[in-house]
C-alpha cells in the first residue's frame, strides 16, 4: 500500500497573508465541488417541484406520460431504467467478479497486466461509440441469433416472449453490461488484492487448492467490497444515457419482456428535454432527473461505504 503523507502544520507561518490567501483560495476551489453538488440537487428539486406537487406519488406510480393532456406518470421509465440496469448487472457481475479474481489471484503476472489494461480500456470508450456499435452491429446480430434462440427455447415464459427487434431492453442491457464491466472488475480487483496474505497463506498451509483459497478465504473477506463494486456498477448503469438511448427503442409503455422496447429516465430526458413545453412538461422531466439523482446517489453512497468498509477491514485498500 502506498504511504500517505500528511504535511506538517506550519504553525505561525500560516498566519502570513499570502499563505492565508492561498489557503482560502484553494479552500474555495475545494468547496466548489461541494457547492456544485448541492446546487445541482437543489435546482432539480426546485424546478421539479411543480410536477411533483401536482401529481404527488402519482408521479412515481402513474404509467401515463401524456404531454398533450398534461398528465405525467414516470412508472414506465422507472421500470425501464431498473430493468435495463438489472439485465446489465446480471450479465456483468458474474463475469466481472470472475475476471477480477482471475486478474488478482490466478493469472500469471505476464498475463494479468495486459488483461487488466485491456479491461480498463473498455471504460475509455465513449458511450456514443458504444451506441453506434450497438445500433449497427450488436442489434442486428442479436436479432438474428441470440434473441431468436431465446424466444424459441424460453419464449413460453412471458419475460422472454417475443417479438424481438434487435434493439430493446436486452440490447441495452448487454451494452450496459459491457460498460460497467471495467468498474466492477477494477474495484473488485482492488478489494481482493487488499485482503491480507495471511488469510491465503493459512488456507494454503492447510492444503487448500488455489480455488478453495479464493472462495473460502479471500472472497468472504472481500465480499462486502465486491458487493460495493457491483452496486457502483449498477449505479453507473442506471445513469448511462447515450448508448442506451440509441439502442433501447423508445417504447413508451411499461416493458413486459426483456425484448420489449422501453425508455429509461436518462433516455427520456435526452430525447424530449429540448422541445418540452416550459412549465409542467419541463418540470416533469426535471422531476424525472431528480428521481434518477436520488436513486444513483443512494446507491453510490451505499456502495462506497461498503467498499470503504471492506478496505478498512482488510487493513488498507484504496477507496
Amino acid at each position: 500500500m502506498t504511504a500517505r503523507s500528511r504535511p506538517p502544520r506550519a504553525g505561525g507561518r500560516t498566519s502570513r497573508l499570502p499563505d492565508r490567501v492561498f489557503r482560502s483560495g484553494s479552500g474555495l476551489f475545494g468547496a466548489s465541488v461541494v457547492v456544485i453538488l448541492v446546487v445541482l440537487g437543489v435546482q432539480l428539486a426546485v424546478n421539479g417541484d411543480q410536477a411533483l406537487s401536482t401529481f404527488g406519488t402519482g408521479f412515481l406510480t402513474g404509467s401515463t406520460w401524456d404531454p398533450v393532456a398534461g398528465i405525467y406518470g414516470a412508472l414506465p421509465y422507472i421500470v425501464g431504467t431498473i430493468a435495463a440496469a438489472l439485465i446489465a448487472v446480471t450479465l456483468a457481475a458474474p463475469i466481472g467478479i470472475l475476471t477480477a479474481i482471475f486478474l488478482a489471484e490466478l493469472a500469471p503476472r505476464r498475463l494479468a497486466l495486459p488483461l487488466t489494461f485491456a479491461v480498463e480500456l473498455l471504460a475509455a470508450i465513449p458511450s456514443v461509440v458504444y451506441g453506434l456499435w450497438g445500433v449497427f452491429v450488436l442489434g442486428p446480430v442479436l436479432h438474428s441469433t441470440v434473441e431468436a434462440w431465446i424466444v424459441d427455447t424460453l419464449g413460453w415464459i412471458p419475460l422472454f416472449a417475443g417479438p424481438t427487434f434487435g434493439i430493446g431492453l436486452f440490447a441495452a442491457g448487454i451494452i450496459l453490461a459491457i460498460m460497467i464491466l471495467p468498474t466492477i472488475v477494477s474495484i473488485s480487483r482492488d478489494v481482493i488484492s487488499a485482503v491480507p496474505d495471511s488469510h491465503r497463506e493459512a488456507m494454503l498451509a492447510l492444503g487448500a487448492t488455489r480455488w478453495e483459497t479464493v472462495s473460502r478465504a479471500v472472497l468472504p473477506v472481500a465480499r462486502s467490497g465486491i458487493a460495493g463494486a457491483v452496486i457502483l456498477g449498477l449505479g453507473r448503469a442506471l445513469g448511462e444515457t447515450m448508448a442506451v438511448t440509441m439502442v433501447i427503442g423508445n417504447g413508451e409503455h411499461i416493458p413486459t419482456s426483456i425484448f420489449s422496447t422501453a425508455q429509461t429516465i436518462a433516455s427520456k430526458i435526452a430525447t424530449t428535454f429540448n422541445e418540452a413545453q416550459v412549465g409542467l412538461q419541463t418540470s416533469a422531466l426535471i422531476a424525472l432527473g431528480l428521481v434518477l439523482l436520488v436513486i444513483t446517489l443512494t446507491l453510490n453512497v451505499v456502495a462506497r461505504f461498503l467498499v470503504w468498509r471492506a478496505a478498512g477491514v482488510s487493513g488498507g485498500g484504496r477507496t
Binding site: 500500500m1 502506498t2 503523507s5 499570502p18 499563505d19 489557503r23 484553494s26 479552500g27 476551489f29 475545494g30 468547496a31 465541488v33 456544485i36 453538488l37 445541482l40 435546482q43 463475469i95 470472475l98 475476471t99 482471475f102 486478474l103 489471484e105 493469472a107 488483461l115 485491456a118 479491461v119 480498463e120 473498455l122 475509455a124 470508450i125 465513449p126 458511450s127 456514443v128 461509440v129 453506434l132 456499435w133 445500433v135 449497427f136 459491457i178 488484492s193 487488499a194 485482503v195 498451509a205 492444503g207 487448492t209 488455489r210 480455488w211 478453495e212 483459497t213 472462495s215 449505479g235 445513469g239 447515450m242 436518462a266 435526452a270 429540448n274 439523482l293 446517489l297 484504496r318 477507496t319
Partner: protein
C-alpha cells in the same frame, strides 16, 4: 496493491518454494480428484470470463477501425455537413471539440488541482473528507443531470444555447476526476520534501507550488489527461448546452457549437447511409484520440508497475 498478491505468484530464482507449490504438493499427495477438478474447472472458468470480457472490446475496436477507416477521407476532415450528406464532413464537429474541450480544461484544471491542494495540504480531517466525498459522488452523477444543471444557469437566462455553457458542463464533469487524481498524486509526495522546504523558510504557498505540485506533476498530468479524454467523449451534457450545429463555428462561444460525440449521435440515427458512414468516420477519429491518451497515460503507469 498488486504487491499484496504478488507474493503468491511463482517467482523464479533462489527462493523457498512458494506456498502454491507446497499446497499443490500436499494436495496431490492428499485427496484431491474432485477438488482438483473443481480447482481447475473454476480457474478455467475465470480465464474464460476474462476473455469474454475482452470480446466486446475487440468487437467495438474492430468495427470502428474497419468502418471508420473506410469512411475517412479528405471531405470528412475538411468540410462541414452538406445537404443530404454527399460531399460533406465533420469539420463542424472537429473544430467544435477542439475548442470546447480546451476551454473546459482551462476551467477545470485550476479548480480541480487547487481543490486537491486544499484537501491534501490544508484541510482538516472533516473538510477534506467532505470534499473528497463530494467529488466521488459528483463523478457518479449521471452526466445528463449535469447538462440540465448547466442549462438552468447558462442557457435559460440568456435563452440561447451556447458553446460556453457546453464547456462549463464538460468542466463540471472533469473537475472531480482531476481533483481526486491530483489528491492521490499529492499524497505520494514524500513528507520529507515538504518538511525540508518549510524548514528552509519557504512559505507554505510557495512550497506547495514549487515543491509539492512539481513533484506530483506526473500524477497530476495523468489525471488531467484522463479527464480530457473523458470530456472529449461526453455527449449528454452537450445536448442541452452547446446543442450542436451544422455550421462550422470558430471562436463564437455565445452560439451553439457542434462536437464529435454530438455529430456521431446525430448521424448514427439518420436513415441516410452516407451520413451513417460519416458517423463511423467521426467515431474513428474520436476513438483514436481517446484511446491514444488512455494508452499513453495508463501505459506509463503500467510500465512503472512492471519496472
Amino acid at each position: 496493491m498488486t504487491a499484496a498478491g504478488a507474493s503468491l505468484r511463482p517467482i523464479s530464482g533462489p527462493r523457498t518454494p512458494a506456498p502454491g507449490d507446497i499446497a499443490r504438493r500436499i494436495q496431490r499427495a492428499g485427496l484431491g480428484r474432485r477438488r482438483g477438478l473443481a480447482d481447475r474447472g473454476m480457474r478455467t472458468l475465470a480465464l474464460v470470463a476474462s476473455l469474454t470480457a475482452l470480446v466486446p472490446l475487440g468487437g467495438v475496436l474492430a468495427f470502428v477501425a474497419i468502418k471508420g477507416a473506410a469512411a475517412l477521407n479528405l471531405d470528412l476532415l475538411t468540410k462541414g455537413p452538406r445537404a443530404l450528406g454527399i460531399g460533406g464532413g465533420a469539420l463542424n464537429a472537429i473544430v467544435g471539440t477542439a475548442q470546447m474541450v480546451p476551454l473546459a480544461t482551462v476551467i477545470a484544471l485550476p479548480v480541480g488541482i487547487l481543490g486537491a491542494v486544499y484537501v491534501a495540504e490544508f484541510g482538516g480531517q472533516r473538510s477534506a473528507a467532505v470534499v473528497r466525498f463530494a467529488a466521488d459522488v459528483l463523478v457518479g452523477v449521471p452526466s445528463i443531470l449535469i447538462g440540465i444543471f448547466v442549462f438552468t444557469f447558462l442557457v435559460l437566462p440568456f435563452r440561447q444555447f451556447n458553446a460556453f455553457a457546453g464547456s462549463v458542463a464538460l468542466a463540471v464533469i472533469m473537475v472531480p476526476v482531476v481533483l481526486r487524481t491530483t489528491e492521490e498524486a499529492l499524497h505520494l509526495v514524500p513528507a520529507s520534501l515538504r518538511e525540508a522546504s518549510l524548514a528552509l523558510g519557504v512559505p507554505v504557498w510557495r512550497t506547495v507550488l514549487s515543491v509539492t505540485l512539481r513533484t506530483g506533476l506526473p500524477g497530476i498530468l495523468t489525471g488531467a489527461m484522463l479527464a480530457i479524454a473523458r470530456a472529449m467523449g461526453e455527449t449528454a451534457p452537450l445536448l442541452f448546452t452547446a446543442l450542436g450545429s451544422r455550421l462550422v463555428n470558430v471562436g463564437n462561444f455565445g452560439q451553439p457549437m457542434d462536437a464529435l460525440p454530438l455529430f456521431i449521435y446525430r448521424n448514427a440515427t439518420q436513415p441516410n447511409a452516407v451520413l451513417n458512414d460519416q458517423a463511423w468516420g467521426a467515431a474513428f477519429l474520436l476513438l483514436l484520440v481517446v484511446l491514444a491518451i488512455n494508452v499513453l497515460v495508463r501505459g506509463r503507469s503500467w510500465g512503472r508497475r512492471i519496472g
